[in-house]
Amino acid sequence: MIHVRKTLVVAGHGMVGHRFVLAAIERGLTETYDIVVVGEEARPAYDRVALTSFFEVGAEALSYLPDGSYEDPRVRLLTGTQVTGIDRDARQVTLDNGDVQAYDALVLATGAAPFVPPVPGHDLDNVFVYRTIEDLEAIREASKSAKAGAVIGGGLLGLEAANALHQLGVQTHVVELAPRLMAVQIDDAGGRTLTRHVEQLGLTVHCGVMTELIDAGADGKVDSLKFKDRDEPLDVDMVVFSAGIRPRDALARDCGLAVAERGGILVDEQMRTSDDRIYAIGECAAPGGQMYGLVAPGYSMAEVAVDALLGGPGTFTGADMSTKLKLLGVDVASFGDAFAGTEGALELVFADAVAGVYKKLVVSNDGKRLLGGILVGDASAYGVLRPMVASGMELPENPEELILPASTGSGAGVTLPDEAQICSCNDVTKGEIVAVVADGQADDVAGVKACTNAGTTCGSCVPVVKRLIEDHFASIGREIDRTICEHFPLSRQELFDVVAVHGYRSFDQIIEAHGSGRGCDICKPAVASILASQFNEHVLGRNTAALQDTNDAYLANLQKNGSYSVVPRIPGGEITPEKLIVIGEVARDFGLYTKITGGQRIDLFGARMEQLPAIWQRLVAAGFESGHAYGKSLRTVKSCVGSTWCRFGVQDSVGMAIELELRYRGLRSPHKLKGGVSGCARECAEARGKDFGVIATEKGWNLYVCGNGGMVPAHAQLLAGDVDSETLIRYLDRFLMYYIRTADRLQRTSTWLDSIDGGLDRVREIVVDDALGLGAELEAEMARHVGSYVDEWRATIEDPEKLARFVSFVNAPDVPDANISFEVERDQIKPQLSSEPVTLGSHIPVGAPTA
């Protein structure tokens, strides 16, 4: 039998088209089909749900396919190309570049377009919609010269757009035809509470008004809005329409496929259109006549379509339309039968006008089942309530406790059934989450995300995922052990606080008061690091010397044969020829292997412990100081050459890198810290691969945090944009101290960020907005560090007591340890290991057997 490969064309590369391709690859559809994806936008699919964060993170961070192609070579992606027609008889589509593409199967995933009502003036300059990255780019551009703007439409998306406009510095009005905001999702009382919140953010809300005209000024640009039955026009210089969406079903209409009455391509339960070679999925489709303006139903449709193409039985029978608003500062959620449309449904309402909280539960008339609800001002219970609706589980005795402030508000103590869908974006049930935890595939949120996709889209289910993990561990008696080791019943953070509160200065004091035993290789270095962060005493001081980890104990890095490496600090990677010569001379005179490190400095290897003081004597005399390559502390702040020399540079990146490296040198932290500063967006210093990265902009600096290279690389994310040098340092002081205070032992900034409820937004609230009022305190702590810094190596060579530790043998200080030996490779030394201890003398006798 001849196997002829078939061709499948996907029209539209948006969220759902992309999900379709992923599922097709994963489930083996590409074994029989070559897939051609035709997308009209200039770039591959991106996370439209997170569109607003484009202003912060840029286009690349939103992209689902930053490389521009799928790993499976049988999938070809054409971006910037539109499908202009379908010829069903010839089974081919025409493209706007003139090409014709034949298909055996066609999947329409053309999404939806914003609806722009035909108000006179809707086609003026400075009138926008809010759907694509290009739309946002244009809005940002216009906002630069705009003073006031209006968003027409007070629904979910309108509010999001309004908030974005507001954050761009435009005085923002929300204009809504309906008598309240989010009319589709919430009721009047909830709407009033929401309006108060939105106004507190600094926006102006106009409900129940109809826009009649968008008027232009002399320059042909928007100038004001005129409303029906209102004399006063509203002066604005830009307008964003967010008045709903319409399915993009024109291709289907033009070739005679059946469409739904209110728009959308009619499909059956397997996503087949009236032509059974053509499927439609996502926002352009209308299963059973209804279109769905959310991504989760679109994803289900994509999975069902792949299944159908593989001959499977999957069907799509409707979807949960629950929503949670991502507006910063205002929690709004609406789920299930929010309007009590079910026969006999009862409503339980809790409202606190002062606190701005409105919560409503809709329950069945026997009071046994939760049907839906609305939460405004505090939506913390959403994660638990929504799955309760979906699973139809029986309500607890006093359902009102689920929304009363006295309870934890998150429905603690309610046990969800296994089938309860926890992540609606990715259709993951409680059972699936618990299963990956139970069989050891994951033991934290990050692990569950990796195994199941739960929590990777809108993130609203993350708190529940976290609780499920903890509950599971509790149920099998595994303490969610955050205690640092057997000697302390405390986490690192708690230990940090205990030390700060009591002002302890030694390990003995701490273990006597709060621990047991004599400590170990885990808690001792942790205590040493905490003491160093708080008091910045010398690491080889009386109180702390015996606590230090291998490298700190000798202020150098232990190598495989017991010798050490020496890394002098070269701030920002800038070094004079004289200093370079000194390093060369020292290396030559002590016979050390010399290498340029990955951190823009020079490492000298093969020093014997007893040689370290003499080596450092020479280096310190030449003006070098410790590079802390051995410490869990600041390593380097890498720089690019920057505006001083580079023809692209917009700021002095070397100067800034040096300033930051000198400021934070010696800062002891839960894990090592690295920084980078680039002089422009070309990013030659790879700053976004660092715990803190600074990238120059025309106006100042962008500050990125929580990146790293290493085992699990992570890109740093934007914490603050376009700040001046002083603000940059203030934010960095706060950020670093907050990390040092709250991270676990050996937790780098990126994993620390993953562990924080609320993630980067939370960190920004604390660092930038100073929401906890901690700012001044964190800055003062950093100032104390900066003020008390001394070079550890200089202090060591000046102190006989510390120097006394650097001997090979207590009883024979002049004899080198024969176990350390070298051979030569490429003109330099390299370690030689022996499989037995090397002895210089006779054997030590063996004593009589002990009884």
């Binding site: 057997e486 000697h487 170990c520 290789d521 015996a546 104990a553 030590i844 004593g847 002990t850």
Partner: protein, 114 residues
């Protein structure tokens, strides 16, 4: 008796920190614990093949005093030299006595011979 070699004064040692001594030509790690007990183990870490144990952190696991190798953190019982993470591996342990404040290292403890 020549089997016992004089090393240094107890007071020369910091508590809970090790030093290396040259005993009959071999590198021996000497440790003074918080309760002033003195222990001696071979300095050679059999996992890392390097002479480094004296530079490890000391502590307790339950009641067992141990040193963690600075190289890859395996723990060795200060009394017997047995590795607490893999009891098929051990380093030699030596008898130690303190006479008039001076540390003497004696023969290898027989119980630690494989």
């Amino acid at each position: 008796m020549s089997d016992w070699q004089q090393i240094c004064r107890v007071d020369d040692l910091e508590r809970e920190r090790g030093v290396t001594a040259l005993v009959h030509g071999q590198a021996v790690a000497i440790f003074r614990t918080h309760d002033d007990q003195v222990y001696a183990l071979g300095n050679y870490d059999p996992f890392a093949h390097a002479s480094v144990l004296a530079r490890g952190i000391i502590g307790t696991r339950g009641d067992v005093p141990f040193v963690a190798s600075p190289m890859h953190k395996q723990a060795f019982d200060l009394r017997t030299g047995v590795c607490l993470d893999d009891d098929s591996v051990s380093v030699p342990a030596y008898d130690v006595k303190v006479v008039d404040g001076t540390i003497l290292v004696g023969p290898r403890k027989a119980s630690t011979l494989a």
